[in-house]
Symmetry: C2
Subunit: 220 residues, 2 copies
């Protein structure tokens, strides 16, 4: 049977359509995106899309499925352990890198999820909650070990998420240019130190060094 080869080509084209759809959905939004535009983007005729997906809505669903699978794979690939600071730092760097690599997916999720209740529930269950739980569990573990003070993990985990998500949000929703110039490492350094030691100062340094801290107060 030449089935395998044919199926391979078929799957290849299917992916090309999904990719084109992602592009157009991210640019225009699902409702304003047209099958014509997606077909043009993929370099095929409108009718061809219906040989691969039964409807526009199914195209949307398939796109979400593939996003979920890809995300989940990356989430589960991350180790649960390591020293606290290193773990958090690599987590933040990873996330920001991933967001920046897939700006279309970010924009797509942000603009469409609030409008489609079924999708929202699914994505939340499979990605959002999974990710949050892992972070919560990590923090709870470190609290139990006495390494972190007894903060509320469900709030602290969310807050930490917010500390790096906001940078992507500023780019996507507001089109902030200044944020784009910061490297993931720069952001992670400051954010993780802020999360662990706070803005007042690390518990390790005694509050006697007022003189040494008035240097680069105005950096911009």
């Amino acid at each position: 049977m030449a089935r395998t080869r044919a199926d391979g080509l078929r799957e290849e084209r299917r992916q090309a359509i999904l990719k084109a759809a992602m592009k157009v959905f991210a640019r225009k939004g699902y409702a304003a995106a047209t099958i014509r535009a997606i077909a043009r983007e993929a370099g095929i005729a409108q009718g061809t899309i219906y040989l691969y997906f039964p409807s526009k809505r199914d195209l949307l669903l398939a796109l979400y499925r593939s996003m979920i699978l890809e995300s989940l794979e990356q989430i589960l690939a991350r180790p649960e352990t390591g020293d606290t600071e290193g773990f958090l730092r690599s987590l933040v760097v990873d996330r920001i890198r991933r967001f920046r690599r897939n700006p279309q997916a970010v924009r797509f999720a942000l603009t469409e999820l609030p409008l489609h209740a079924e999708l929202r529930g699914k994505v939340y269950q499979e990605i959002g909650l999974e990710q949050l739980q892992r972070l919560r569990a990590f923090l709870a573990d470190r609290i139990a070990a006495g390494e972190l003070r007894p903060l509320r993990p469900e709030i602290a985990a969310r807050a930490l998420q917010g500390m790096y998500v906001i940078f992507t949000l500023a780019e996507t929703v507001f089109g902030d240019r200044a944020v784009a110039r910061l490297t993931p490492e720069e952001i992670a350094d400051e954010v993780v130190r802020l999360f662990l030691d706070g803005a007042r100062g690390a518990p390790s340094t005694l509050p006697m060094s007022i003189s040494e801290r008035s240097d680069h107060a105005t950096s911009d």
Copy 2:
């Protein structure tokens, strides 16, 4: 002239249309929302909307203008000073309350801003940036005063924003129920303490000021 009274009625109806539009735009998104649905929501005929707004897009623009004005008013009404902890706490409580009072506006801004570049620029300039600058200036001031360590204000200000914005985001984008059960005060307490003192522990564990900060932990 009875002009004033007539104009008053006209303005009243204009606002009613804007309110209905906000409702429908927030539920369906701008592209999928129909003038028919907005008219039905406002209890008037389709044609009537065109006596108040020249087009659907102008309805969108007018809605943004009113959102900007309202937001700006509230931002500028906030004092710039006060003790650091109190200022930040009231800031976080304020913001979360405001987001929760206007879930439609949040959803609307989140889903539509990324899709309309002109709007995005305007809103960013007039609200997003204004808000961020004020927070940055506040932090820079406290750093110069030696009250906060020399962190990078442009990163720290964003991170702090993220720490409270994420709670609204979780509700709006993912439909997270657990977050909705937290009171603004609960969130603010944990977030501000986290921001100022970090997760490892407060510098207040040093023999200075343990007593002055463990009071209003649970207010609701």
